[in-house]
Structures are given as structure tokens and as C-alpha cells.
Symmetry: C2
Subunit: 293 residues, 2 copies
Amino acid sequence: METGLSEFGKVVIFGTGLIGGSFALGLKEVGAVEEVVGFGRTPATLRKAQELGVIDRAGINPAHEIGDADIVLVATPVAQMPEIFERIAPYLGPNTIVTDGGSTKGDVVAAARAAFKGHIGKFVPAHPIAGAENSGPAAARWDLYQGKKVVVTPLPENNDDRLDRIKRAWSLCGADIYELTPEIHDRVFAAVSHLPHLLSFALVHELAVRDDADLFFTFAASGFRDFTRIAASHPEMWRDICLANREALLGELDSYRAQLDELRVVLANNDGDALEQTFNIARQARRNWAGDQ
Amino acid sequence: METGLSEFGKVVIFGTGLIGGSFALGLKEVGAVEEVVGFGRTPATLRKAQELGVIDRAGINPAHEIGDADIVLVATPVAQMPEIFERIAPYLGPNTIVTDGGSTKGDVVAAARAAFKGHIGKFVPAHPIAGAENSGPAAARWDLYQGKKVVVTPLPENNDDRLDRIKRAWSLCGADIYELTPEIHDRVFAAVSHLPHLLSFALVHELAVRDDADLFFTFAASGFRDFTRIAASHPEMWRDICLANREALLGELDSYRAQLDELRVVLANNDGDALEQTFNIARQARRNWAGDQ
């Protein structure tokens, strides 16, 4: 649908906050989009997004906006995606590609399959890895994705052209593109993101419900600060992520519990060598990782 | 033994690095000490400490330095303390008070009792809570303890005068003084410091030994960074701390494992309300804690 010089004609964004808004601004920054239309939960948010130049106008009715869109990005919380997929499914045009910004993929793909059915090939799932400290249109930045990772998790039904166009759009925003299957994606993020959040919440909760909780918090210092920073994350959002990625998270949690069981035996046996070796392997891996960042 | 205007005459420091050196510099800064004598593992370290003004001179023989000392601070790694206690025990003078800077207390007190026997009242255990990123005399700073916490864990045998003098010395360094029993101290620090380190090491180790470890580390991001920062801590030091505080740490580890078992059930049951409530309590407690710091 490119009618001018831009690579993409119309881009429709559901959820014009940090993730969706930054995608729009990133494409605008390089002149890669002709028009951005936003949908959101409240008129106030859409007005704000328009004032800030994140979107060109607010959409009223998906029936009038989806058919001639090149890209539809659904960047809402994952829990809202099934309903949005149902709303837009009847209107996908011949050139419309739908993508998403959800941090879990198995559940999003399942919802997309249920809504898009035979047109599932038009849905290319993706997960941009970018901070989430702030939200709303005011948090959107054209350079949010510069040098950040975006994981695309293609479906067997995606043809190369559609896949390439979604990867191209994220590249234009400055992102480095990776490909994983939805299943591997979910396992990886369960291990390196969802589980650490669960563990951090668990530690603080376990202390907080003690009768003498104050005594413990009084002497918590810098190590506690680092370890528990993510326990200040948004409870509702993390509830949804944990439930959305439940199977993979349970698997990772069980691997971790087995690791703790082993360490308990090592400690109970006073086995300094095994303890030091475990710590050594961990430190080396952590240092290598930090050096690669 | 004050021969001049200073509150303390001679202070002897075993281990002239971050903890011991900063104690010396803190007392010197306010003119509260006449002479600081240092003992250390290598002549080079002691030379460096003297060059930097951390100590006035290096001690050669404890037999000549301990009897007229007002304070002897043992600020070495905890594992070296029993031997140092044995070396100095024969020479304690009538006004000598021994204290330490160890991050565990039950094991240090046991070693002190074994060495000092009937003179155990002259040993006032303490734990200054200060960062340990750097070490050696060059890391010592006069203001390290300004506004930091020092936990004194008095023994029944300590009389008020000795206890007050150790508290006073740390106050002169700018620290806020707290009192706990050695047992409560060890339980508190097992929970808020030693356990988080163990959990962080465990997470990184569990990923690092996987065949496909690289896949996981590739997608680790800011939450992982915070949670695992303490997994880059010194393996030998943390082995010693974990072993030294083994009983309390096993207790805290078991409480935490019980918490994880509960969360596993909640997750397996898809119980979003319970999950959100746990996260909410944790976030509120983490925020209250951070606000108090």
C-alpha cells in the first residue's frame, strides 16, 4: 500500500505506549511510514499520543482502518490481545501483516490462531526486548530500540515476504533481529526473566510476612538491593506473564528447585570444595555475560 | 593507656584493607587515636598501608604490641581469625579490648571463646556493614563508615565499659551502632545477605552448566543483570561465609524452599489472585524498604 516514497504506508498501533509508541516514532524518524493510526483504551491516551506526534490520528473503527494497513502492531498487555485479534480478524487486507510486542509467545500465538484461523500466515509474532520502567505515550522514544534485541518467532505459515517485512520494520527502528521458535522463546525467557522475577518476589514476600520482618529489613544492604530490585515490578503485569508462560515457567522453576536441593546437600555436608566450584562456575559465567553486553 | 589527648592510645589492626584500614583512618580523622600498628599477611601490603598513612608502623611480634593496646581489631577474612586469636591470646593487657569485623558471628565467637577462655570478656564482637567491592589498603577510606551500620553482638561476659568503648570507636568513625545477639545476627544476615548470594549463584550456575547455555545468556537482560550481580562475588569468600553461617543459612534456605513450593502450587493451579497477592505484598515491602534507605 505504499503510495509515496515510504517503505510502509499505513501502520496501525494498538497500545500507543512505550512499546507501540516507540515503534511508531522509530519508523517516523527514518521516514519509513506514511501514516500512523492509533487505537487505545482511553481517548485521553490517544489525544496525548497525537499531541506528542506518536500517532497521526486516533482510529475509531477497526473496520475502516485495518484493510489498507501494511502493519498492525498489537502492543497492549498480553491479556488484552485475544480480544483485539478477534476485533481485527474480519478486516485483514491482502497486504496486511499483524505483529505483536508481547513478552510471551506460546499464548499469543494460540490466541492469534483462534482469531485469524486460515489467515494465521498474516500474523508474525515478535518480542522486542526493551525496558518497561515507564509507560504511556510520554515514555515513547524514537531511539528506544537502537541496539536492542527483537526476537521474531515465525510460524510455519509465515511466508518469507511477510517475515522479512516485519524484520525490516524492526531493523528500521534500530533493533538487532533474532529468530527463535515460539516454544524456545518461552523457555529462554522463563529462565532468564520470568523465573528471576518470581524468585525475587518470593524472597521479599517470605521475609515480609514474618512477625519480625522489620528486624530483617533493617539490616538488608546492597546485595539485597540488587537481588530484589525486580520485586518492585508491577504485580498485575507479572501475574499475567507468569500465567501466560506457566508451563515453561514451571519447568524452569523445577530445574531451579533441583539446583537448590543439590546445594542444600553440599552445604549440609560442609563440602567447601563443591560450594566453591559452584560459585566459581557462576561467577565466571556472569562475568563472561557482562563482558559480552 | 591514653598518654595524650586522644581517646584511644594504641590501636592494633590485623588486616589493613578496606575494613580495618578504614577503621584506622576514621579514628585518625577525628584525632581519636595516637598510634595505629598493623599486622598483615605480606610485608608489601603493610608497606603500602604505611605509605598511605593507614597505619603508623607495621608490627613484627604480637608479644610486643598487644599488651599496651587499647583496641585490637581483627579485620581479616573470618577463616583466618581463629589462628590470630590464638596468637594474641597470651598477651592481652588489662586495658586491651579485642573486636572483629567478621560478617558472621557465631563461629567467630566460638573461636574467640576457644582462644581467650577466661578472658573472653575482653572480646566484643562486631560486624560493620560496608561494601566489599574493593580490597587492600588502597581501598581504605576515612569516611567509609559515615552513616553506615555497625552491629555489635555483645557477650554476657562483656562489661559495660568495654562494650561502650567499642561502640564509641565505631561511632567516632561515623557509624550508627546496633546491638543484636550473635544468634539473631547470624539469622538476620543469613536471610538478607547470605541466602540471596546463594540463590543468585545457583541461578547462574544452573544456566551455565546447560549444553545450550549460550542461548539463554544471549537473551538475558536488565532483570537478570540486577538479580545476578551478586553472583559475580568472590567464590572463596562466599564459600567461607556460607560454611561459617551454615546452620542459620540452612534454616533460611529451607524457609525459602517452602515458599517456592507454595508458589509452585499456586502457579500450577493457575491461581492468579494468589500470585498477584504475593507479588503485591513483596512489592509493597520492597518499596517501603527502599524508601527507608
